[in-house]
Structure formats: structure tokens, C-alpha cells
């Protein structure tokens, strides 16, 4: 588990800003969750939300190997972040595949650590690390 994000988040933001021929893919589960949890109805809305600074108080959580990678000889890393939007705390997981040149939004949902102030306090005190978001 890395302590720093593996991917350049600014490069991801830049990719989200590109409207035509977008190089950002949103997986079905992430899209469904974004729709239900945050009212972001389409993949376009998700990308515009991100591009316009919608992921506030962004906090890196962890990096993991992409479990479904069919070619383990070329590892793909997934970066997980928590963010805040109004009263909601969300979790977003993204990865970049160097082979395809595409970013993938793997998760976009309410954080499992949402509305648990004591979890925040424990995290800040260093007693626990990232959450169980997937």
C-alpha cells in the first residue's frame, strides 16, 4: 500500500476536462452509485463535476493493485480518495492504464466512513489508516 498517490491527479483532472473523445471511462457500478448517491445522472455529468472542482477537500486514502487486471505482468494501480461535497463524504477510485491511455473511474460513492466523526478523529490520531472503500 503506497503512502502517496501513484497517479498524477492533475493529469486526471485535465483528462476530465476534455469533452470530445474523452479518455476517461466510468464503470457501470460507479455510474449507478454516482447517480443514486450524488444525483450525477450521466458519465458526462460526473466528468464535468470533477473537472469543475466538485471533489472538495480531496484526501488520498490508499493505492492498490487492480484485482481484475487480466495481464498481471503489467500491474495497474488504483488510487482511492475521499472527498466532500456539501454534507456528503464520498469515495472515488481511479486508475490509469498506460497501454490504452485511458483513465477509469472504478468507484464513485458515499464513503463507508461517512458521518462517523470518531473514525475521522482516529484517523487523524494515526490509530487507523484508510477505510474499507472499494
Amino acid at each position: 500500500m503506497l503512502k502517496q498517490p501513484y497517479h498524477d491527479f492533475d493529469a486526471f483532472l485535465k483528462a476530465c476536462k476534455v469533452r470530445a473523445r474523452s479518455r476517461v471511462v466510468v464503470l457501470r457500478k460507479a455510474q449507478d452509485d454516482a447517480r443514486n448517491d450524488f444525483g450525477l445522472k450521466t458519465s458526462g455529468e460526473i466528468l464535468r463535476f470533477i473537472a469543475n472542482g466538485g471533489l472538495e477537500q480531496l484526501e488520498f486514502i490508499n493505492s492498490k493493485l487492480w484485482e481484475n487486471n487480466p495481464d498481471p505482468s503489467r500491474p495497474v494501480i488504483v488510487d482511492g480518495y475521499e472527498f466532500v461535497s456539501r454534507m456528503k463524504r464520498g469515495y472515488v477510485a481511479l486508475m490509469f492504464n498506460k497501454v490504452t491511455g485511458y483513465w477509469t473511474i472504478k468507484s464513485f460513492h458515499i464513503s463507508d466512513n461517512a458521518n462517523l466523526p470518531f473514525v475521522d478523529a482516529f484517523k487523524k490520531a494515526g490509530f487507523i489508516s484508510g477505510g474499507d472503500n472499494e
Binding site: V26, N69, T100
Partner: protein, 170 residues
């Protein structure tokens, strides 16, 4: 089978699949629509990977929004809200609300939002009628809140008294 290669893993040849998604509106209206998506047999990535359904989904939401607004405006009559008075107060051209009600005109997202707020908090019309004067707005808000609180407390007191009486007798 599509010849497109999966943008997620770069290995699998994408398959086109038909799937259904359920869209819901805050008013409670739900609609299930069928869309075509992609699935990668190699990495199991699934979804509208190229944003091809965005337009279809947006159009469905637009229809649901029109239905929701029409249904809310139907209820204005029972809430004793006159459409022409509401149009005057909200500075909308006359007959706008009627056109939304009979679906001859589709309200924009922001217009629908306005109707949702007025439907939920009809006293916002009084605030608008007072030209959004902050002091008047606060008075209206507090008066409505106190009335609602009184109604809520009246109900719960009665229930509590009944409970108390029941507990004492048994």
C-alpha cells in the same frame, strides 16, 4: 461482437450488451429504460464506456421532470395556490405554469427546481410577494415554523398522554 478493444485493460474485445437501468425523480416517479452497454470478457469491465447513452438518459430525465412538475402543479389547487398569482409573484409570463401543467411546454431544470421548492415550502411565494425583503422573509419563515411546530407538538403530546394513561392503567 464489437471490434472495439476494452479501454480499461486494453486486452479484451468488447461485447455489446443490452441492460436496463432504473431512473428516479425526487417526486417518486421511476422509469426503467433499456440501454446498450459494453462488457469486457477479459477484465469484466462493464458499462457505458464511451458515454454513448448520456443523451438517452438526459432525455428520459427531461420527460420525468415534465411529469413531476405537471403533477406538482395539479396539487397547487388543493393547496389553494392560484397559478396566476404564483406567476405574478415569481415574475413568470402569465400562462407559463398552465403550460407546464398541461405539458405543452417542458420546464427547464432550474424551473423544475423552483416548482419543487414552492411545492415543498409554499410560503416561499409569500417571501417572493414581499420582494425578498430579508426581515419579512424571516418573519414568514419563523411564523410558518412555529405553526408547524405547534401542530407537531400537539399531535405528539396527545400521543404521549394516551401512552401515559395507558401505562398507568395497566
Amino acid at each position: 461482437m464489437s471490434k472495439r478493444i476494452c479501454p480499461v485493460c486494453g486486452i479484451g474485445a468488447l461485447e455489446k450488451i443490452l441492460t436496463s437501468i432504473t431512473l428516479s425523480d425526487p417526486s417518486g416517479i421511476e422509469k426503467t429504460i433499456e440501454i446498450s452497454e459494453y462488457k469486457c470478457p477479459a477484465c469484466e469491465a462493464e458499462g457505458d464506456l464511451f458515454g454513448e447513452n448520456d443523451r438517452v438518459i438526459q432525455d428520459e430525465y427531461k420527460k420525468m421532470r415534465a411529469e413531476a412538475v405537471a403533477s406538482m402543479l395539479e396539487k397547487f389547487h388543493s393547496k389553494k395556490i392560484s397559478l396566476s398569482a404564483a406567476e405574478r409573484v415569481l415574475e413568470l409570463p402569465q400562462r407559463t405554469l398552465s403550460k407546464w401543467k398541461n405539458k405543452s411546454m417542458v420546464p427547464s431544470a432550474s424551473a423544475a427546481l423552483l416548482i419543487r421548492y414552492v411545492n415543498l415550502f409554499p410560503w416561499l411565494l409569500d417571501v417572493a410577494d414581499n420582494k425578498f425583503n430579508p426581515k419579512n422573509a424571516q418573519q414568514i419563515h419563523v411564523a410558518v415554523a412555529m405553526r408547524d411546530l405547534y401542530e407537531m407538538t400537539k399531535g405528539s403530546e396527545a400521543t404521549n398522554l394516551e401512552d401515559l394513561r395507558h401505562n398507568t392503567m395497566t
